[in-house]
Every structure is written in C-alpha cells, then in structure tokens.
C-alpha cells in the first residue's frame, strides 16, 4: 500500500553496458488519448508482467474524503456491465435502488428521524443490497484472470500514485486489454457498501491494531499540519464510514483517464505486433481532462521541534523526521546518499553504532523520501530500543551521528562504498519482472520520461562529501525535526 518499494529504487546508479542494452530494447508509444505504453521484451519465460499506473493518489482527495483514492482502487476490481453482471439492465436498476435507499436513510439521519423510521430505512437499504447481489457474479474480474493462470493480481495506492499489477501467460495479452480497457471505460462500483466494511477492517488491521501503523499515523499528522501527506492514506474511520457511491464515482471520473496513466509490459512481448492489439482496445478510451488544479497547500516551513507520543499495548518505538525537498532538486539525491551512509548494511553508521557497538537498538532503518515524492517530503529514521535502553537513548545516539555528518567530511572510501551499493541495487532492478515494470511506470509518470532512470548515474556520481555536509547542516536541525514515540502502556519509553 505505501510507496515503500520506490524508496529502495530511487537510489540508483548506471551500470554501463547492461543499462544501455535495456535502454535500446524499451519501446515507447503514445496513443491519441495520451496513454503512454512502454514495452520491454524479455524472453526468459512466456509471461508478461503488467503495470498500469495513474498519477492519482491520496494527495488528490478533497478534505473529508480521505482514503477515497484507496477505496476507488478497491472498486476498480468490481467489474463492468459485461464483467460481473448476470443481467445488466436489472442490476443497473438494483444499484440505483441502493443509492436511493442510502440517500433516504442519510436524509432521515440528518433530519433526526425517529428510531423506528431509521430502522425501517436501514432494512430497506440492506434489502436493496441483497437484491443487487443476486444479480451479480461476485469477483468476476478476478475469476477471468485466475482461470488464466494470473499471478500477483493486486493494486496499491500511494499518496501520489495508484498502480494495478498482474502477470499473465503471454498469450493472454488480449484478455488483459479486454478487461482493463473495459474497466477504464465502464467500471461498475457494485457491492460498494460491503467494501466499505472491508476497508474499515483493513484500517483496523494496518493502522489501529498494528503499533507501527498507529505510530506512523500520528507522526505524519504532526509533521505535516497543512499538506495532505499528513492525512492517513487509508482515511479516518469517520471518513470511510461516510463514503457514498456518487462521491467515489465522481473521484474516479475526475482522475482515472488514459492521459494520466502509463501502461508497462515487461516480458514475452513483440512491440510492433502487440501495439496493434493495445491500440484496438486501449485506443477506444477517450482522453480525459488534465489533472485539475487542486490547490494543494504547501507545508509551511517548520520553525520549532515537534514532539508527539502515543501510549500503546506494545514495546517502545521511535520515528524521527526532517522536512526536505523532493526530486529533481539535487538535495533530494544527496539525501539518498546520506540514507545509504546511515543505514544501508551492517557497516552503515547508525546500524554499527546503535545495534552493534552500543547494543541499544534491535534495529534501525531510514527512508530518504517519505511518505511520497511528488511534494517536499521527509527524511525518516525509525528505530526500536533494546531494553533496558530507551527511545531517549536512541535519540541521543542518532543526533550524535547526525552531528558527525555535519562536522566531518565523509571519507572517499565510504562514498565509494555507497556508490557501489547503489550501482548493484540498480542492476538487480534491471533483472526484470514486476519490479522493473513498476519502476519504469513510475519514472515515466513522474520523472519526465523513463529515460531519467538512465541519467541519474551522473547525479549520484558527482555528489561530493562537501555537499553531504552542507545538506546535513541545512536540514538535520532541531527546529526542522518531528519526533514520534510509542510508549508502552503503563510502562517505559
């Protein structure tokens, strides 16, 4: 769900010949609708890994509709008139009856109708849902793919983007296109209110009953007081309970258009042949409006340290965040390098100091671009103390290491080590599969073209020890810091 994978992939370097080969193999087509299609032939096995990514996510939600992008991601699996309906005209009427019953119930609640009246309308609403269920073939979209041997059918919503993934035997290309073109044209949000309950369960599971999720939610809310990165990506419980079909459909129709998407195919493809089929189906989908101006407010500069804690039925944990710019600002790339210096591997500074030398932490990790990348974001350090050491102990040790970055230049050897690591990590991504499909979609959508992936070497290779020092001094300051602590209920930090 979170954009965690990117964070790994963003620290990349170029591996000469291999990257050149890959670069020459990639084919890019742009349909009239603005849909960009990337194809990467890889004949290892007769399969294709698909990634369909939209530049829509949590930041695009109106206040009060938090999590609607994630809800819409779920609803895009519910099919279309020709995928999942047993009798479309009847089902259509039944779905309209649900909307009407829901609206009447909402009005009654708003007008403080009698308990009896609300019960009656609730029963009618539930009755309407049951009627509609009888006219649908549940999870028909999945059935089509499962029947055909699909692997990894899934989707994820981030703050900045949403992607739909599946891998299929390569002769099922037309099936994929028939299904997803139809979804983009005619998505039907059937079983909507059942899915609201599913999403509430998802929220309980990832944000309420998971101590890391609970801590992260208050951490982001504290660090971003204005920008939507501070809102929970899945929405608050009240927001989820308030979802209505019309609002969700409006969000879908505003945003999910071919001109705001990239489709990547990695695997057993023949670009010149396959683009014909892709045009036949995806070409039917009309171009939509551009991304509307949402007036997303910028986060004002932070002027004093912010601290927050939650009491929870779990062992202590710590998150520290510093505001920073995002790509393509050069300082964002410098932060990627700092991330590697601090937490990549056992010889990294924070791991060595906190986990090995001081035996103060079970683990420590960092992320150089959280929770999104489209807007200025955070450098986040996460650590779990080893009893009897506390989160205060960890804070002190982490700040000492950050001071060292500010006061001493990183040695050439250490810098070289980081360069080697990023280069190898990059090569591993190029090995293909779903990860490559996702990475290319991401670069095409947000970095002004997939070619950018091959141009970052120059940036990373020229980052100097002096720049690292300057960036550390500029951003790792107390007034730019947000600290969130999980305190064991009735116990220690």
């Amino acid at each position: 769900m979170g954009p965690l994978i990117w964070l790994l992939l963003l620290t990349l370097l170029l591996p000469g010949a291999t990257a050149q080969q890959l670069r020459e193999q990639i084919r890019k087509y742009t349909l009239e609708s603005g849909l960009r299609v990337l194809m990467v032939p890889d004949k290892t096995a007769p399969v294709i890994h698909f990634n369909l990514m939209f530049d829509v996510g949590g930041v695009d939600e109106a206040p009060g509709l938090g999590g609607i992008a994630h809800m819409v991601e779920h609803m895009a699996f519910k099919g279309t008139p020709s995928i999942g309906s047993l009798d479309w005209p009847k089902e259509k009427a039944a779905l309209e009856a649900i909307d009407k019953a829901r609206a009447e119930l909402d009005r009654a609640i708003a007008n403080r109708a009698s308990q009896e009246e609300i019960q009656r309308l609730t029963a009618r609403f539930n009755q309407a849902r049951e009627e509609a269920q009888k006219l649908a073939l549940p999870n028909a979209l999945d059935q089509l793919f499962t029947n055909n041997g699909a692997q990894g059918l899934n989707a994820s919503t981030g703050y900045d983007r949403t992607d739909y993934r599946v891998s299929l035997p390569s002769n099922r290309l037309e099936l994929y296109l028939r299904v997803y073109a139809d979804v983009m044209l005619n998505a039907v949000f059937r079983s909507f209110y059942e899915e609201v309950d599913v999403v509430l369960e998802e929220r309980r599971q990832i944000a309420e009953n998971d101590p890391n999720g609970a801590l992260r939610e208050v951490f982001l809310r504290t660090a971003f007081q204005v920008h939507p990165y501070g809102r929970p990506l899945i929405g608050s419980r009240e927001e989820i309970q308030g979802y209505r079909v019309d609002k969700a459909m409006e969000f879908w129709k505003t945003h999910y258009h071919p001109n705001r998407a990239v489709l990547v195919l990695v695997g057993d493809v023949e670009p010149e042949r396959d683009i014909q089929l892709i045009r036949r189906y995806m070409g039917v989908i009309p171009k939509g409006p551009d991304r509307p101006n949402l007036n997303i407010p910028a986060e004002p500069p932070q002027t004093a340290e912010r601290r927050v804690s939650i009491e929870y039925n779990a062992q202590p944990s710590l998150l520290i965040g510093f505001h920073k710019p995002t790509y393509p600002n050069r300082e964002a790339y410098v932060m990627d390098v700092i991330d590697s210096i601090l937490t990549e591997g056992r010889t990294s500074r924070l791991f060595r100091r906190l986990v090995i030398q001081e035996q103060a932490a079970l683990n420590v990790s960092a992320s150089s671009a959280s929770p999104g990348f489209r807007y200025p974001n955070l450098f986040v350090i996460s650590a779990q103390p080893r009893a009897p050491r506390t989160t205060q102990d960890l804070e002190r040790l982490i700040y000492e290491e950050l001071e060292r970055l500010k006061n001493e230049l990183v040695s050439p050897q250490e810098l070289q080590k980081v360069r080697n690591q990023t280069r190898a990590a990059y090569l591993r991504v190029l090995q293909g599969g779903p990860g490559l499909a996702q990475t290319l979609a991401f670069y095409e959508l947000f970095f002004g073209g997939y070619q950018r992936i091959f141009e970052e070497e120059a940036i990373y290779n020229t980052i100097t020890a002096e720049e690292i020092q300057q960036v550390a001094r500029k951003y790792f300051t107390p007034q730019n810091r947000t600290v969130a602590t999980l305190i064991t209920r009735g116990g220690s930090r």
């Binding site: 007769p46 699996f77 995928i83 041997g149 039925n313 010889t347 090569l427 599969g433």
Partner: protein, 465 residues
C-alpha cells in the same frame, strides 16, 4: 431477416454494456495452455561429494549461489530452541577464515555483494550474490562462512540480546501471536511445535554453535545451486579451490513421531478491536496420496478472491480484509489444511462459525464442476511462472533432491490435478478434514465478543508469553 435482427440485438447489447460490438465476451475467450520453457541445470559433483546444479546466464553481470544443508530448527535440542536462528545469524556475522566480523562486513559492502544465511525447520542455506568482477573474492568469503566460521563471542552475545528483544516484542501484533500459537498447537508433540523462550535463548553458548556446525555442515548430502554470468567448467574448478579442506562425514538425522495436536479452541486475550482466527488440522505430507486433492480443495476454500472464505467472509459480508486458507506442504511430517480471518471483535463467533461452515460444506457437498475447473485451470495455466527465474529453478531442484522427491514429482502432480473429479475431491476432504477435530486459535478481546467462545466448544485460555 432473423439473422439481421439478432445481429442488431447483439449490437444493442454490446453498446448498452459500453464496449464496441466487435469486442469478444471475455468469458468466452479461449487460449492454449502454454508449455513452460523448462530450464535444466547442469549437474556436477565436487571431489568432497558436494552436488552442484549450474545454469549459465550471461544476460547480466551477476553470479548467485545457494548451498542447502540438512540443518534446521527441528534438530535443535529441546532446551535450546532458537539455536538454529542464532546459529545462522552468527555464522554470517561472527567472522570467517582470516577475517574478523567487521572485516567480512566491510569487504562485502564495499564490493556491494551479499553473503546471507537462512534457516527453516529442515534446512540451513548459505547464499551469495555478486557482480562477476568480484566473484573470486566473494566466493572465498562465502566458502569461509560456510566452512571456516569463527563464531566470535561478542557477536553471539549481540545476537542473543537481539533475539531476547524480539521475544519481548513478539506479542505486539495480534497476527504474530495467532500464527505462532497456531503453528505450535497444530504441531504439538513434534519439534516443529516448539517455540523459543528467554531461557532457551540465554542457554545458548559458543560451543553449541560449533557443535551444530560440526554435526550438520557436511558436503555430502548438501546441494549447491549456482546461476549467472560464468563458464560452467571454469566455475566448478573455482569451487573446488574455494571449498578445499571441507571434508565429508556421516550425518545422522534423528526421526520424530508425527504431531499429535489436541483439538480445541485456544484463546489468547489481547486488547484489540479485531480478532485473529486460525483453524485447521494436519493432513498428509506433500505429494503423498491425497495431497493433490487436498491442495485443490484448499484453493476452493481459501485461495484468492473467488475462494469460498473470501466470497463468504469478505465480499458478501464485509467481515474481513484478510481472509483465506491453504494446504501447507509438509515434508517429513504431515502438512495441514487451514483457514484464517482477521475480523472485527464483535463478530468473532459469527466469523468463526462461518469459517467452520465452509469446511463442513466441502465435506458434505461436492464442489461444482465450474468451481473445480477454475482452480484447476489456475494451477495448469500458472505453470509457466515456475520458470521465470533461473536461480529460483536451480534452488527448487536442489531442495527437491534433498527432500528425496522424484525428479518428475511436479509432472505427476499436474497429471493428478488434471484428473481430479468433484467426487475425488470430496472423498479426500471427508478423509482428512475434520472440523470437529480442529485446532482453533483466537486472539482478541473477549469482553467484546458477540458470544463467549465456550458456546462453540471447549476453550483453553493460554496466557501471552
């Protein structure tokens, strides 16, 4: 006239459904089942008896390898549960050959290479991954870790301390509690059903690590899978050099009686607004008679959006985000069939009964032919995905050989899957799946349950530890 009329109605229908008239009905699209392009590793044997499976792949400048050894958690002494986990950490981090722990880390990270150790119930494996240009150096470190580990005392102390902290934290998440308790209860009476404790971790000494290494790390009986950018003959010679001095010897592995779980509801109290429910019983070992039928039955039960648990618990009723089930692969002792859900606490009993009803229904009524075909097709059409990674193929064959499975075990399995009828499936479920004998684990806040668990069966309250 009639033909034109029907064409028109078709067109109207298609337009009414919002797609061009010449688009096919996706449910009627027919595709051939693709045959996987099978990858067959070259086999070699070193002079010390180590078997090697090799696949050359010059596409990227990498070499990967993983050697499997018969050394897993079930072979730990009863009072040292957790030893194999500590062993595998310190094998990697405790220094090797001429190098101190810090030197090993420093050189690997400077070369951007990895050497890693993993362990499970049956096997410990030592893997490496490196750019071709650094192969000699990395191969030497990998061989040192494998054959000449130093087990530095201070790194043992470090890993024990971290393991104790992990124990302290293991009740933080309800799902983690439920999985641990379920695996423990369903394997009761077998070493796989043991869990570590602070005492068992504290008792581990350096001598225990050395003894574990001496007892299990023998080249005979081990298999190395290696793929990537190399020349097969040349790399075999390099392996001989790197592993010089690794001597074969007898490895005596104990055998164990199968698990004897005690049916019932095991309840663990945790303040949370969702309950985690696991249920199931042991069945058969992997690829034994009945396995293919149970595998297919368990997919009908719990594999994905069109499985019964998903449709009934999630899609129709919105009672869970996470729900599903499977038949596990047991090697050496039976695997188990299970179902699981994470559901709001005030629906705990309702969901538990709904899940049990799905198991019972599989016993009482044959599945529809349509349902069977869906999951059968899923298995058959997904076969091509078994060959997307050369390293994964070589590793799978290595494990297969160590488990003593016949080389064509998967082809046999596929043939069985192709032949299964609804009656076969029901017979196997009736024989092996017994809801009244289930081990059921519930983690949740009983004060908020819709009904006391006692109304569903005998309950054992297990304290969190």
């Amino acid at each position: 006239m009639k033909a034109i009329w029907s064409l028109l109605s078709l067109l109207t229908l298609a337009l009414a459904q919002g797609v061009p008239a010449d688009w096919p009905d996706p449910f009627k699209m027919q595709f051939q089942r693709l045959q996987p392009s099978v990858i067959r590793p070259t086999e070699a044997q070193l002079s010390n008896g180590l078997k090697v499976l090799l696949v050359e792949d010059r596409a990227l400048p990498f070499v990967s390898g993983r050697v499997y050894l018969r050394a897993g958690a079930i072979f730990e002494p009863d009072d040292k549960v957790g030893l194999s986990g500590i062993f595998s950490s310190v094998l990697r981090t405790g220094g090797a050959g001429e190098r101190t722990p810090d030197q090993v880390d420093e050189i690997l990270e400077t070369l951007a290479a990895t050497v890693s150790v993993s362990t499970d119930n049956l096997f410990t494996s030592v893997a490496f991954n490196t750019l071709t240009e650094n192969l000699d150096q990395v191969l030497q470190i990998w061989a040192d870790v494998l054959v000449r580990p130093r087990f530095a005392q201070e790194r043992l102390d470090l890993e024990k301390g971290r393991a104790l902290e992990a124990i302290r934290r293991r009740n933080d998440q309800p799902t983690q509690i439920a999985v641990r308790e379920f695996v423990r209860r369903i394997n009761e009476g077998h070493p796989a059903g043991r869990i570590s404790s602070a005492a068992s971790i504290q008792s581990i000494t350096r001598d225990d690590l050395v003894a574990f290494h001496q007892r299990f790390f023998k080249p005979n009986g081990a298999v190395l899978a290696i793929t990537g950018d190399f020349n097969t003959q040349e790399i075999v010679a390099r392996l001989e050099r790197a592993l010089r001095g690794w001597q074969p010897g007898p490895v005596n592995l104990p055998t164990f009686a199968p698990p004897q779980p005690k049916p019932g509801i095991y309840f663990l109290q945790k303040e949370t607004n969702q309950s985690v429910i696991y249920m199931g019983n042991p069945t058969v070992t992997a690829f034994a008679p009945g396995y293919s039928e149970l595998d297919l039955a368990s997919r009908v039960l719990g594999d994905g959006f069109n499985s019964r648990l998903f449709l009934e618990v999630r899609t129709k009723r919105g009672l869970a985000y996470a729900t599903g089930g499977a038949q596990t692969q047991g090697f050496g002792w039976p695997g188990f069939i299970y179902g699981a859900s994470i559901s709001r606490v005030e629906k705990t009993a309702e969901v538990l009964e709904l899940m049990l009803a799905q198991f019972r229904d599989l016993r009482e009524r044959p599945v529809s032919q349509e349902e069977l075909e869906l999951f059968r097709n899923s298995i058959l059409n997904a076969e091509v995905f078994r060959f997307t990674s050369k390293q994964a193929v070589a590793e799978r064959i290595a494990r297969t050989q160590m488990l003593g499975l016949p080389p064509d075990y998967y082809e046999q399995y596929i043939r069985q899957i192709q032949a299964i009828t609804p009656a076969d499936l029901q017979r196997a479920v009736q024989q092996y799946v017994r809801p009244e004998q289930f081990v059921i684990v519930v983690v949740g806040d009983k004060r908020q349950f819709d009904r006391p668990l006692q109304s569903l069966g005998s309950v054992v309250e297990v304290p969190l530890e």
